[in-house]
Symmetry: C2
Subunit: 171 residues, 2 copies
């Protein structure tokens, strides 16, 4: 079983964190919450779910993990403003290890400039940003392209989790 980095900041979409995290744990994966401030707590935007940050992005390295999960909501907007977070995500994408993206998560992939030529989906508000980044936007519940698994919104969660678990199994 693998070690999954969950990169997360304030105002994440609660259910987009909770449901995949539960499913990954049930299958025996270890979850490490990576954020802007070690020991800090971040809160979900709708239910106020609290998540403790295990490690700051400055202290971690792609080599420490087997996969990266980026929940949606406004968390990716906060993370993409931090150069260390952007660098971590960029290195993860370039490593070829699985990157699991849902909802607004493509925003930080765009700032990391790793979407050119890739097939990806995401929340409707970021569609034009995805296209402008040189990616092919695909309007489907789950889009898989190499190491990248992406979904649009909470309604896609069952299929997103299924595809993510399959991808993690292959590693």
């Amino acid at each position: 079983m693998g070690k999954i980095a969950i990169i997360i900041a304030d105002m994440f979409e609660d259910v987009e964190y909770i449901k995949p995290a539960e499913a990954f744990k049930v299958k025996g994966h270890e979850l490490i919450h990576v954020g802007l401030k070690k020991g800090g707590k971040v809160k979900g935007k709708k239910q106020g779910t609290e998540v403790q940050i295990d490690n700051s992005v400055k202290e971690v390295s792609v080599e420490d993990f087997d996969a990266l999960f980026i929940p949606g909501g406004y968390s990716p907007d906060k993370l993409r403003g931090d150069p260390e977070a952007v660098k971590f995500v960029k290195e993860f994408m370039n490593s070829g290890k699985p990157v699991l993206s849902i909802c607004h998560a493509p925003q930080i992939l765009i700032t990391a400039q790793v979407l050119k030529g890739r097939k990806v989906t995401g929340w409707k508000s970021v569609v034009q940003d995805i296209k402008n980044a040189g990616a092919e936007y695909v309007d489907k519940s789950v889009v898989e392209d190499g190491n990248l698994v992406s979904s649009r919104h909470p309604g896609d969660l069952p299929l997103f989790i299924e595809a993510a678990l399959k991808k993690l199994k292959k590693e």
Copy 2:
């Protein structure tokens, strides 16, 4: 004095609405709050400022106004998911009437595909999106390019308001 459409949705950055709105009113401009639902109330993300929506974007036309103001926060993210809101903003930009943009406001300008070849500034998280949209990102307190006046964040408000009032005076 002119009629200013303020396009606004939930989770706007309170101060980026409050301060310019006050300054515009003091100078005798009329403010019309345009949103996704007429009569609805929208709330600011930090202070919970309540704003009543005077008209839905479906019912208004660029001809009704002299200028458009787009406050920041997560309001532009919510608006850009609505095709009528995007159409209204696109028509406004194409009309040549003043468009006042701060913080995350370029997001809806990007979805409206009106930034190509324009000089613009905005919040640090949307810099790559601005560049990918074919615009020239300028890291200054206020950037003026034709009818478009843009600023980066609440710290720019005094200069943003000054530039906006000057632009409104010329109309």
